[in-house]
């Protein structure tokens, strides 16, 4: 199960990197840091599409959002290649033009408030669904976030779950708190939120365990999952590096990155010794060949 999740994560990484390189803009590194957090949410049965809501308050992680829906089979994977193009529903930051999004985000610090409104609305409707909000750590500087935080605990909106992608880096450098998870925890707890820590935001097993705890909690409190992550995770020359915010890879850099991701896959696969992984491997090689072939057509 968790092998499968890891495979999905790798697949989503490739889609994020490829789609932003084709677009020649976007925020691949901010998307990469939240891959595991969102993949576990979507693919481990925590997110119920019928009743639950999800808001990407860090709207610049749009490439991740679109990749998730591609892997879910809701949109054609090839459509990701229209990211940020005129007329495409896959806009630079999410808008309801993309049919799986209810609200536009991208002006930071607003998603939690919208989620709070939805959570209060669900309670009024006696709907048992939950509202998940993905926040960046940088956007927590916005005063509006704390307006929402205090009001959510006042109304005891236990159906509101914030997920904070603490990748340490903002647009131009380190955030005020960096990876100081405990300070984030103190702040949220002082507003009467129930907090959960993920010390490795790229470990799918740890994330799963924490989501389970959070969703089983019967305390009448809003919940926040504070996850330490790495900006640009998965690609050595992007990981935790300044100067990569909002930058797409060049074609050559992308090839290098994809090669690296493939090597990681290979290592994993050689550690398993059954025929199915051999098939997986040849399948993956084929996929990669096709992708690189398509890429050529964009850049030649």
């Amino acid at each position: 199960m968790s092998e499968n999740l890891k495979n999905i994560c790798q697949k989503i990484r490739k889609l994020i990197l490829t789609s932003t390189t084709i677009a020649q803009s976007g925020h691949p590194t901010s998307s990469l840091s939240a891959v595991e957090l969102m993949t576990v949410l979507f693919f481990s049965g925590f997110f119920n599409e019928k009743n639950d809501e999800v808001i990407f308050s860090k709207g610049h992680a749009a490439p991740l959002l679109y990749a998730l829906y591609a892997v879910l089979g809701k949109i054609d994977e090839k459509k990701l290649e229209t990211l940020r193009q005129f007329g495409s529903v896959l806009e630079g930051h999410p808008t309801p033009r993309f049919p799986y999004v209810k609200v536009a985000t991208g002006s930071l610090g607003q998603g939690l408030s919208i989620g709070l409104g939805m959570a209060l609305g669900k309670k009024l409707l006696k709907n048992k669904g939950r509202v998940f909000v993905l926040l960046g750590d940088s956007e927590i500087s916005e005063g509006q976030v704390w307006e929402a935080v205090q009001l959510a605990s006042y109304y005891k909106t236990d159906n509101l779950i914030a997920i904070v992608d603490i990748n340490r880096l903002g647009q131009r450098g380190q955030t005020m708190l960096g990876w100081d998870l405990l300070s984030y925890q103190k702040r949220f707890e002082s507003f009467s939120w129930k907090t959960f820590l993920v010390f490795d935001g790229h470990n799918v097993d740890e994330i799963k365990k924490v989501y389970q705890e959070a969703l089983l909690s019967i305390e009448k409190k809003p919940k926040v999952i504070l996850a330490k992550t790495i900006k640009g995770k998965g690609v050595s020359f992007l990981e935790d590096k300044d100067g990569w915010h909002g930058k797409a890879l060049t074609k050559d850099e992308l090839e290098k990155a994809l090669e690296e991701l493939r090597k990681n896959d290979d290592e994993k696969i050689t550690s398993e010794d059954n025929n199915r992984s051999y098939d997986n491997q040849s399948q993956k090689n084929l996929e990669m060949k096709n992708l690189l072939g398509r890429l050529k057509s964009y850049f030649n």
């Binding site: 809501e53 808008t95 309801p96 209810k102 609200v103 536009a104 985000t105 991208g106 002006s107 607003q110 408030s113 919208i114 989620g115 709070l116 409104g117 939805m118 959570a119 209060l120 609305g121 669900k122 009024l124 409707l125 709907n127 005063g143 509006q144 307006e147 929402a148 205090q150 009001l151 006042y154 109304y155």
Partner: protein, 337 residues
């Protein structure tokens, strides 16, 4: 059109005079009208929810709270959060009305701006608009709100003058999808409308005194809200001097009642826009752009508005200081002839 105008004007005069002599309450602020209207629409539609930022005893949103406590949400003094929370309610299928002082809504402009990209259904009320709030002073006066709310691409902006029209417009807000703004006044104003008048998006009400239309000197005042009453007082005074001052209650600031404005402008050729708002982005600029677009041949155009930094004082002192009261209108008309 003219026939209708005459009839409705007759209603105004008769209605006004009758009420003046009776014991009936004839003064009520538009914010009180807002509160009463919320209760009415709340009864009719259970999807209506009301949010207010710690001002519900001033905006009269508290009326709703008393009748529907489960559907009222106190947002405390956090306007930005209030706008986004309202958007969340909207996306769960509710019809959110949110209110605070118009001055304080301006700090939530980004949230309102973003809401338009979410195809939002928001009903925003800004009370205590203009210098006419008086004593509380400049920090409490909404003088940029019309500009801010007009700048939202598909917004509808209302600025009613009396409590009756406020109730009708709030009903329209509840029944139509989109971002709506209603500008409310602190001061009590006479109730001048009744069942004889109809209100709509892009509507207006014409007030005439010269039914014979024999006067040669004609001017038009386009206004809304509290200054409507200044214009009506000026009208009564000027008719004695054989000057026909047509007064247009332009309660639908956006969209404008273009047809009526253009036809009255053609008829009078002398236009004054009066508003309790800064010069930029309000009714004055909206009207002047309309006239320019239609290449209307004007003899005179004047914009009376708040063009000085305000201060505390009595409402009437401030209206006079800013040159948006009865006297200022009369003086301006006299300058035309």
């Amino acid at each position: 059109m003219d026939k209708y105008v005459k009839i409705t004007k007759l209603f105004v005069i008769i209605g006004f005079k009758m009420k003046k002599n009776s014991n009936q309450k004839i003064y009520q602020s538009t914010r009180e009208g807002y509160g009463e209207a919320l209760v009415e629409i709340g009864k009719r539609n259970e999807k209506v929810v009301v949010l207010d930022a710690e001002t519900s005893n001033s905006t009269y949103a508290q009326n709703f709270k008393k009748v529907f406590p489960d559907r009222f949400f106190e947002m405390f003094i956090a306007e930005q959060n209030m706008v986004s929370v309202a958007l969340g309610f909207d996306k769960m299928g509710f019809i959110p009305f949110l209110s605070t002082f118009s001055a304080f809504l301006t700090r939530a402009f980004d949230q309102i701006r973003m809401a338009q990209y979410s195809n939002a259904n928001l009903k925003i009320a800004g009370s205590h608009a203009g210098v006419s709030i008086g004593a509380d002073g400049s920090s409490q006066m909404g003088l940029e709100d019309l500009s801010m709310m007009r700048s939202i691409l598909e917004s509808v902006v209302f600025y009613p003058s009396d409590s009756y029209s406020t109730k009708k417009l709030v009903k329209i807000m509840a029944e139509n999808y989109g971002i709506f703004y209603i500008r409310l006044t602190r001061e009590k104003t006479p109730i001048i409308y009744n069942e004889g008048f109809s209100f709509e998006i892009g509507g207006s009400i014409v007030h005439r005194l010269d039914f014979t239309q024999k006067f040669k000197k004609k001017a038009l005042v386009i206004t809304a809200g509290i200054t409507l009453f200044e214009a009506l007082k000026a009208q009564e005074k000027l008719v004695e001097a054989n000057i026909d001052l047509v007064v247009l209650d332009c309660y639908s600031v956006k969209p404008l009642d273009e047809k009526t404005i253009l036809s009255l402008t053609k008829e009078t050729k002398n236009v004054i826009v009066v508003e309790d708002h800064y010069p930029y982005g309000g009714l004055g600029e909206a009207v002047s752009f309309l006239l320019l677009k239609n290449k209307l041949n004007l003899e005179n155009f004047s914009h009376l508005c708040v063009s000085k930094i305000p201060m505390s004082g009595k409402p009437e002192e401030l209206l006079a200081y800013m040159g948006i009261d009865k006297k200022a209108i009369i003086d301006q008309v006299r300058k035309f002839f």
